[in-house]
Amino acid sequence: MLDIVLFSIPEALVVAWLANTLSGTRLPRLKLMFVGAITGVISNFTRKTTSFFALHMIVYACAMAVLFGIVETANAWKRGVSVIIALPLYLLVEYYNILIVRHFVSLERLGESLVLKLLCFAPQIFATLLLILFLKRTGFSLFLNPQNEEV
C-alpha cells in the first residue's frame, strides 16, 4: 500500500501531467489526478503480477491512454500520442537517474530502506517536473490549439 502511495501514484501523476502538457490541452487538475491515481494503482498491480518490463510498460501506456479517453473524449488520439511520447521521456529520465544514483548507493540496498529508496526516487520526479515547467514556460506542445491550427 505504501509503495502505491509513495512511488506508483506520484510517478503516474507526473507522467500524466507531462502527457497533458505535451498534448497542449489543459485538463482540469481533478481529472488529471484521477488519471494519475488510477494509472498508479494499475501500474503497481501489473508490476507485481507481470514480471516482464515491456508488457508492464504497454499495459501502463494503454491504461493511461484509455483513462485520458474516459475523462475527456475530445482529441483522444492526440492524448494517446502524448502519452506514448511522455512515457519514454519519463523512462529515460528514470534510466539516467538510476545510472547516477548507482554511483552513490548500491542498488541492492534500496530494498532495505524506504527513506533511501524515496531519496533515490525523488530526483527523477523533480527532473520530470522541471521538464514540465520548462515546456509550460516555453509554451511548447506537440499540437497547436484548435484556434491556432490555421497558422
Partner: protein, 283 residues
Amino acid sequence: MERYYRWAIIIFSIQVFLLTILVPGSWAERLGYFYPSVLITEILRVVVFVLCITSICIIRQLYITSIKMQKQQLELMQIKNLKEQNLMYRQHRHDLYNHMTVISGLAQLGKLDGLKRYLDAYIKNYSESLFNVDTGLKEVDVLFYAKISKAKSLGIDVQYSCQETLLAGAEQVISLVTILANALDNAIEAAARSVGKKLAITIRGDLMDYIFEIANTYRPVPDLEKKLQTEGCYAQPEQRRGHGIGIMRRTVRRLQGNMAYDVLPGMCRLTIELPKIILGETG
C-alpha cells in the same frame, strides 16, 4: 491529407515508445528488476519492423502531399494575381464607359476643341498605363504588373527595366514572389508618401546571381538606416507593422542570397542578390 499526417505521427510515436522500452527494458532485466522475456522482445522487434515497413508508405505519401501542397500554393498565388488583374480590367472597362460618355457628350455639343484636348489627354494617359512585363516567370510578371499598376494609380513615376531572363523552380518561385511582393509593397508605400514619388525597378544578373534593385523616394524618417536593419522601413511603432523586411530577410537567407539597403539623400535603394543555382533548383 491530414490522415497521412495523423498516421505518420501515430506510427512514429509508437516506434519511439517501443524502441525506448526495449533499451531501458534490457537494462532493467540485466539488473534483475524484471525477468528477461525472449518471446515479448521478439514480438516487439517484429512490431517495430512492421512499423518501419509501414513508415516507408507513409513517408512516400507525405512526400507526395508536400508536392501537392506546393503546387496548390502556387495555384493560389496565381489565382490571387488573376483576381488583381481582373479587378484592374474591370476598372479600365468602367473608366472606358465614363470616357466614352464624356466624348459622346462633347461631340454632341459640337465642342471639337474640347473633344480634341480630352482625347489627347486620354490617349496620353492610356499609353502610360500600357506596359509590358516579361521577366521569364509568369508569376513574377503578374506580380510586377499588378504592383506597377498600383504604383501608377497612386501617381508614382515608375521606371522598370529587366535585363535578365529569370529561371526558377516551382518552390523557389513562391519564395521569390514573397521577397519581391514585400519589397515592392514597402517601396510603393514609401514612394506614395514622399514628395518626388519615384520608383525604379531593375532586374539584372551577373555570372552567379540575379540582382533585383528597387529604388524609391521616401519621406525623411529619423534613424532610417537603423530601422531598416531591425524593423520595417516605414513602420509606425504604434501600428505594429513592418514584418515585411523580416520575412524578406528570412526568405533571402533561406535562398542563400543577400539583401542590403542603401539610404541616399532622398532615395532609398534595396539590392537583393539571389544565387541562380539555388533559384533554379527544381526541388
